[in-house]
Amino acid sequence: MTTTTAPAFQDTPLVIGGRTFRSRLLVGTGKYKDNATMVRALEASGADVVTVAVRRISLDRTKEEGILFHLDPSRFFLLANTAGCYSAEDAMRYARLAREAGFNEFIKLEVIGDQKTLLPDVAGLLEAARTLVKEGFTVMAYTNDDLVTALRLEEAGCAAVMPLASPIGSGLGLLNPYTIRTIKARLTVPVIVDAGVGTASDACVTMEQGVDGLLMNTALAEARDPVAMAHAMRLATEAGRAAYLAGRMARREVALPSSPTTGMLS
């Protein structure tokens, strides 16, 4: 079985903050059992955009290689995140440090409000988004599936809004297709569902809601075979997108036969 790099159906490219990406699947680089597996999984996913985190460099093991030793920045678009930030001030600090690394001005903005659920602190998120947008960042904001918050983030100038399917790392899949569909229907900027995708069907169902893309990490890193799962996710993302563009049939609560009701034998 072969897969082509371009989907075999008509689709417009994914454009975020003026940049065009071929793949609608964005992938995280955390939690893989080793770097070799991570690299193979990223390749298999077909992703253009990969997320990275900003952390202190280890001073005791100065020979430890940073992730950039394994990721080719000319092959992947590095999207730095503000993971682990519980305040707007922290998130802004990390965003500025990330930008100083010199790759691009994009930031996946996370301001977390609760340690157990990793749900966002909406007030902090909006404050950080507004400030970072003013400082020239291209802000992609991780958020909950509340429409009003999504609208405020768009008003604040975010280049993309990223509602969660379910909590980060939970693998629970898309818990509320209605809220995600509503957000997609009302926003002008791209909607990328981030967090909670667990397996291929989750990815497919989420893309069928019409969203512009998906971001996942744990689904790959914690699969028994991350490379195989990355391949599955690539197919699922394309399948979900194709199904959405195809325009699904209406649901009905009674049956309607698929074969003719005339010409039956007497």
Binding site: G28, G30, Y32, R56, I57, I67, L68, L97, A101, N217
Partner: protein
Amino acid sequence: MIAQLPRLHAVTDDRVAARGGLVERAAEMASVAGPRLAVHLRTRALTGAEQLGLARSLGAALAVHGSWLVVNDRVDVARAVGARAVALGRAGLSARDARRVAPEIPVARSVHDAAEARAAEGENADFLIAGAIFETASHPGGPVAGPALIEVAAAGGLQVIAIGGLTPANTPAALDAGAWGVAGIRALWDAADPAEAARAFLAVLPAAASIAVTVNGESRAMAEGITLSGLLEQLGLDPRAVVVEHNRHIVRRDGLAQVTLAGGDVVELVHFVGGG
């Protein structure tokens, strides 16, 4: 008073510069002396472009260890390469004119007697280079002023670097007379092992104060005068592999050698790791 003014100054002359291997010898001394060393580029024979090229190479090699580059006379070269100070000779520009060109660079004046010392103070020089204190191979038979010149020069309150025949053996006498530090030409450049020669001087010069700096959450003792560039070098970190935050301000890579650490500073060194 420049708190971080190095105690040991290695002054070049045209003979030393022409011999080749200048940058390598300077790097050897800098690797043992760090912020306690200043290397003076002093030449009459080189063209402006040649001086600029040499100053740039020297400066880069020294900055890695936190050592100073001092450019003699050519204020324009000093400014172009970001030298830590400019040293003006008797026949050179006045301190005032030098500051017109490079207001941000400290100015040293060479002084040979009391009158010149007072004149330099009048011009608001930042520190003095007083000599010749002892008999020197560079100017055999020339006037020797003795440690009294150091006392006279230091009387006005400016720091004095003693030059002319200084050795580790007579350095204590220069310090007793009020010198802040000493300068050498042949004693350092002509030594079989310049690093060892530098070490011998440093052993009799006041030690750099130690400052406590927090790096990635841990308190570390560092030599006073160390720059962010020197800190990375000491930690074995490639400046291209880290982003540096100093007291909550991000410092760009090209500015690391210009930031000197002070006690109580907080430094964060970060990089990209895997994450979702």
